[in-house]
Symmetry: D2
Subunit: 365 residues, 4 copies
C-alpha cells in the first residue's frame, strides 16, 4: 500500500444540488483516506473552482458527520467549461477554461479528479478524459435519467418527498369532489412522476415520454366517476406534453422553448382539464422541495456504496469510468459510453405495466 | 346522570376539511358516550345531510381508532343553508333549507347540534341558534382566523407541513444563488405564512394584513447580498397584496376578484421580483398538501380538549356557544359574539415583532 | 379472457404484520379484478380463517384506498396448521387442521390460494401445495430473510424507521461523550441492523451472523477516542451473539433459548461494555415501532409490483410459486425451492464490505 | 442606542442537550447583534467553559443557518460549579470553581451571562446572581418541569417523537392481540408521558405523580377486553411508581435509588403485568431518540421568542431573570423565585381530566 499512499485526488460536485452529495463525498473520502491513505483535495463550486484554483486539503473532520446533510459541503455551480470554447478565451490570462482546468489539475498534483454530477457533468468529465485527465464519475440526480446506471442517488429522496405530498392530497379525498394536480420535476424524463405516482396511488400519471390527450384523460375521469370515485389525483411531470405539443416539438424543438413561458405545466393542465371537463381542480407545484433536505436512508446507502467503489477505482488506477448500479451490483462504465446520452422511460417499462395493471391512466388510451 | 342518559345530539363537520376533525369527533363522542351515556347521531356531509336527513346512530366502533385519521369520517360540504334564502324554496316540498334542517332536527330527536367548522360554519350555527335550535361549535381551520379563540385545530398541522417544506428549500441554500418563493394558504389572514415563516427561517414574509412594496423587498435582498447572503426565501400568503393592489381593493373589492385570475400569487410575485431585481427565482406552491395527512400531535391534543369540553357543555345544557382556547384554558364563547367576525394578524402582533427582531422583512419598510 | 372470468382465488395474510401488506393485497386485487375479472375471497386472520371458514367476497371498495394503510385489512395470526399434526385432531369434527383447510378451499370454490407472509408462511404454503392445493406466495417481512428474493416488502419501511432513530441519537453526539446502543429487530438475520447501521452511520454494527467480542469493540472505541471521537453509536440486532454465546449455541441451541431471559440484547450489551470499558452508555430499544406505520414509498411500489405479478400468475394458472425480486426484475420461484430456508447475511456481503470501507466495526477484528 | 453598542454578553448551554438550543442561541444573537449592536461571546461546554475560560467572539456566520440544527453549537456539560464547594478548591490555582467563573466573567468583559438550561442550570444561575453576576436564563428541557414557565423549548419536539412512536405501535393493533408498553423519559415529572399519551391515544398512562396499582391496570385491561378491544397501549414514564414503591420512597428516598438498578421501567412493568394478567406484552424504550433531531416548528418559534425576549432584557439591563411563557405571552421571572423548584403534573391538571374523559386509565382507580 506504500505506493498508493502518495496518491492524491480532487473531488468536486457539479450541477443542481440533490440529496446524497455529502454522503457520497464522505464515502469516497473515508475509504480513500482510511483504507488507502490518499490525499484528498476538495474543489469549490464545481468546475468553476477548478478553473479558478479554489481548493483545499480535506481532513477527516471535514468529511465526518456529513452523512445526512442536505446540499453539498463543497458547493456547486452549473459551470460548463467546454461551452462556447473557441469563441472566447479566459479573460485574465488568455487561457481557455479547459486549459485553466488542466493547469490547476497539474498544480494541485492530482492523480485523478472525482466528479459527482448528472448528465452534463459526465459529458464534461468525458471531454476532460479526452484531454488526458484521469477522471472518475459518480451519478447523482433527482431525475434518474443518467445513462448506464439503474439508479442515481438523489432520486429516491425526491421520489419519497413527492409520494408523501401525494399522500397528503389523498386525505382530502373522502370529503371533497375534486381533481388534484400535482406537478413534480422532470423536464425530459418521467421517472420521478412514474415512481412517485405509483407509490402515491396517482390515478393519472403524465410523463414526457408518453404524450397525453385531454380526451383520454376526460374519458378516464368519467369512468372513475361512473365507478363512484368523484376524486382523482393527477401526477404530472413538468415536461409532460400533449400529443399536439409533442408533434410540434418534433418539428421544431427550439421554437417551443421560447414559446413555453407558461408559469408551470400544472396550471396549464388545470386550464385544459377545467375547459374540457368542468371539474373543479386544484394545483400543487412541488418545486425545489424535491431537491432539499436530508437524503433518504436508501440514498445514503447507495451514495456510500458509490463512494467506496470510487475509492476502489482510485486505488486500482482504473480511471475514465462512472460507477453505476446494475441490479444489486456496483459496476463501472466507461465515460465514453455514457457521455451525451439520456435514460428515458421506455413506454413498455415494467413500472408502466405495473401502473396500468392497477388501473392508472397515462393519457394515451 | 339518569336524565342525561336520554340526551341525544347530532354532530356534523362543515366547510373545507382539515387535520383534526376526526380527533375532535372522537373527543366529543368518547366523553359524551363514556361519561354521560348520551346518544350520538352522525350527520353526513355537513349541513347538507341535515337538510336531506342523511344521518345514522354512532356506536363506539365508529368513533374509536380515528384519532390520527386525516379528513372527516362524517364527510363535509360547503353547503350554506341560509344563502339565497327567500329567493328560492327547497324544490321538493316547498320548504326552505333552514325549515328542512329544523324538521330533521326534531325528527332525529336532537337535544343539540354539534358543528365542527370555520367562520362560515359558525355564522350558520348562530343563525340556527336564532331559529331556536341548540347548537355548540368547535373551531377548526388551517387559517387560524376564527374569532374568539387563540387557536383552532388544523392550524398547527398545516403550519408544520409548511415549515418542513421551507426547511427543504433551505438545504439548497449553500449551493445555489437563488430566490425561492413558497406560496402558502391564507386568503385573508396571514397566520400560516407568519408562523411557518418564523419556524422555517423565511427571510421575507408577505401576508395580506401588511401590504408590501417590491422596492422594499428589493432593498432587503440587496442588504442581504451585501452581507454575503446570496440566497433568500420568501414565504408568501396566497392573499398577500402589494400596496398598489391593497389600495385598489379598498376602493372596489369586488372588481379585483374578477380581475385576479393569475394562476397563483407565487408566480405573480416571481414576475414582479425578477422584473425589478433580475435575480433567478423558483416558485413552490404548497397547495392542498397543507390540508392533508394525519393531524400533528399538538392538534390531536387540542381537538381532544375541544371535544371533551363540548361534551361537558352538552351535559350541562350550556348551548349556543363555541368552545375556544384562551391562553392555556378551554372556555366557551357565545356564538352571537363570534358570528361574522374574522381574526386577522394585528400589525403589531408579538410574532411580527419576534420576526422583525431576527431580521425578517415584511415588505413594508 | 372468458375463461379466467370464472376464476376465484382466496387471499390471506399470515405471521407478524408488517408495512405493505395492504399495498400488496390492493395490487393483487386491482389487477385480478380490473384486468382479469376474477372473484376474490378475503380470508380472515391468516390460516386460522381458512380452518374455520371465516371469509368474505371482496369488492372494489374493500381494496381501494388502502395503499398507505399500515397493518392488514384481512387480519393475521401465527397459526401453523401443520404443527403437531398427527398428535391431535381438530376438536370439533375430528378433522386435522390441514383437512379443514382443504375442505374450506373446496367449499369456497377456490382455484388458488394467495398467501402473504414470511418464512413460516411459505413453509405452510409448500405443504398445502404438496396436499394438492394451488398456492401463490408473496414475500413480506421486516427481516428480509426470505430465501429466493433479493427484497421482501416491509423491510425498507422498518429500515427507514431504524435509520431515522439512529439519526436522532447522532444529534446528541456533539454535546455529550457517550456510547449509544440501539437495539433493532433481527433474531437470526442481521439485514436490518446492517442496512440501517450503514444508512445511519453507526460506528459499530453487531449482527447474528458475525459473532462479536467485547475486546474488539473496546479496541475500536479506544481507536475512535484517540482520533478525537468521544461518542459512538452501536447498532445491535436483537439476536447478535458474542463469540462465547455463539459457541455455546452451536453446542446446544435449545438450552440457550431457555437461558436467554435477559430483557433485551441492548441492556445485556450495555452491561458488557460498561464493565469492560467504563464509558457511560444509554440504551434505546426500537421494538415494534419497526413493524408499524404506513409503508415507505419504496415498499408500496415493491408490494404493488409483487401484487400485480401474482395476478399475472393467477391468470396464467402458474401455481406453486412465490413471486420474488431478482435485481430489478420480478420473477417467480417454486415454493419447494424456498420452503424451510433462511436468507442470512453472508460474511462477505457487499454491504459488509461497504461498511468496513467507511470504518464500521463488526466486533470481529 | 450608543451605550448599548458597547454591551457584551456571554452565552452558554448547560445540562442535557435538547432540540431548540441552537434556535434559541440564534434568536438571542440575531436580535442582540442586529437590533442592539452588542458583542456576543460564545462559551464552550456549559459552565465548564466559563471555569476554564474557553470562549470565542461570535460573528453572524456563527449564528446563521442554525435554526433547525439539533444539539448545541456551543457544546454542553453537566458541570455544577457550586457542587461540593467548600470541600475542595480548584486544583490548579487554589480557586473554587465559582471564583474561576467570576474571574473569567470579568476578564471576558461581560455585562451579562445568558444561560440556556433546565432546573439545575437555573439553580446555578441564581447562585451566580447572588455572587453579584448579571444573569439571564432561558428554559430548555424535554421534561417541561421548569418552574415558572408554561412551556420550555425541547418539550414539544420530544413529545412529537414519542407520539409518532405510539402511532406506529397502534398500526399493529388490528392484527395482533397484544399489550404494548412504551417507556418515555420523565424521572420526576410526567408531562411527556401525559401529553404524548393523549396525542397518541394511549389506553393507560403511568406517570410519577400518580402511583399506580397493577390491580387497577388489570381491571382496565379486562374492561377493554369485554368491550372487544384485545389490544392496549401503555405509555409509562421512566420514573413511574407503583403505590408500593411510592410509599417506600416517601419513607426513604435514598435507599430506593440504590435499589433501582432494573434496566428500565418498561421491562419491570412488563414482568408485573405478565405476572398478574398473563397477556403477551412487548416493550419499546424510546431512549435518547427523544432528545435528538431537529426541533419541531413549534419549538423553533418558542425558542426564537425566548431568544429575542432575552435580547430585549439585555438591552434594558433587566437582569436576574428567566424568560418564561405564560399563556400566550412571554414574561420574565426573577431567578430567585424559580431556583430549586420543580413543576410537576398536578393530579387534577386539565390534561389529566381530558385524558380521563376519553377513557384513559392512570392506574389509580
Amino acid at each position: 500500500m506504500a505506493k498508493s499512499a502518495t496518491r492524491t485526488f480532487g473531488i468536486l460536485t457539479s450541477g443542481g444540488d440533490c440529496p446524497g452529495l455529502n454522503a457520497a463525498i464522505r464515502g469516497v473520502a473515508k475509504a480513500a483516506y482510511g483504507m488507502y491513505d490518499m490525499n484528498i483535495i476538495g474543489i469549490s463550486d464545481g468546475f468553476r473552482g477548478l478553473i479558478t484554483g479554489e481548493a483545499h486539503i480535506m481532513k477527516p473532520t471535514d468529511f465526518s458527520g456529513i452523512l445526512t446533510l442536505g446540499g453539498t459541503i463543497l458547493g456547486t455551480s452549473r459551470e460548463k467549461p467546454f461551452k462556447n470554447i473557441g469563441q472566447m478565451a479566459d479573460s485574465k490570462e488568455g487561457r481557455t477554461k479547459p486549459e485553466a482546468i488542466e493547469e490547476n489539475y497539474r498544480k494541485l498534483g492530482l492523480d485523478c479528479l472525482v466528479v459527482l454530477g448528472g448528465n452534463g457533468t459526465h459529458k464534461t468529465a468525458n471531454l476532460l478524459r479526452q484531454e488526458g485527465l484521469n477522471v472518475i464519475g459518480l451519478p447523482k440526480t433527482i431525475d434518474n435519467d443518467i445513462y448506464g446506471t439503474d439508479m442515481s442517488f438523489g432520486f429516491h429522496s425526491a421520489m419519497q418527498i413527492a409520494a408523501e405530498a401525494i399522500d397528503r392530497l389523498h386525505s382530502t379525498a373522502d370529503s371533497h369532489n375534486r381533481l388534484m394536480i400535482i406537478e413534480v420535476m422532470g423536464h425530459r424524463a418521467g421517472w420521478l412522476a412514474l415512481y412517485a405516482g405509483i407509490a402515491g396511488g396517482g390515478d393519472i400519471i403524465l410523463i414526457p415520454e408518453i404524450p397525453y390527450s385531454i380526451d383520454s384523460i376526460v374519458r378516464h375521469l368519467m369512468k372513475r366517476e361512473r365507478g363512484g370515485k368523484q376524486f382523482s389525483i393527477v401526477v404530472v411531470a413538468e415536461g409532460a406534453l400533449s400529443t399536439g405539443e409533442a408533434k410540434l416539438i418534433r418539428e421544431e424543438r427550439k421554437k417551443r422553448q421560447k414559446k413555453n413561458r407558461s408559469p408551470s405545466k400544472g396550471y396549464e393542465l388545470q386550464e385544459e382539464i377545467e375547459g374540457a371537463y368542468g371539474m373543479e381542480t386544484r394545483v400543487t407545484v412541488l418545486g425545489h422541495q424535491q431537491r432539499g433536505g436530508a437524503p433518504s436512508p436508501y440514498d445514503r446507502v447507495l451514495a456510500t456504496r458509490f463512494g467506496t467503489a470510487a475509492a476502489d477505482l482510485l486505488f486500482c488506477g482504473d480511471y475514465g469510468k462512472m460507477v453505476a448500479l446494475e441490479g444489486n451490483d456496483i459496476t463501472a462504465k466507461p465515460l465514453e459510453d455514457i457521455a451525451g446520452k439520456l435514460k428515458l422511460v421506455p413506454p413498455n417499462h415494467y413500472l408502466i405495466q405495473t401502473a396500468r395493471s392497477v388501473g392508472t391512466c397515462f393519457g394515451d388510451e
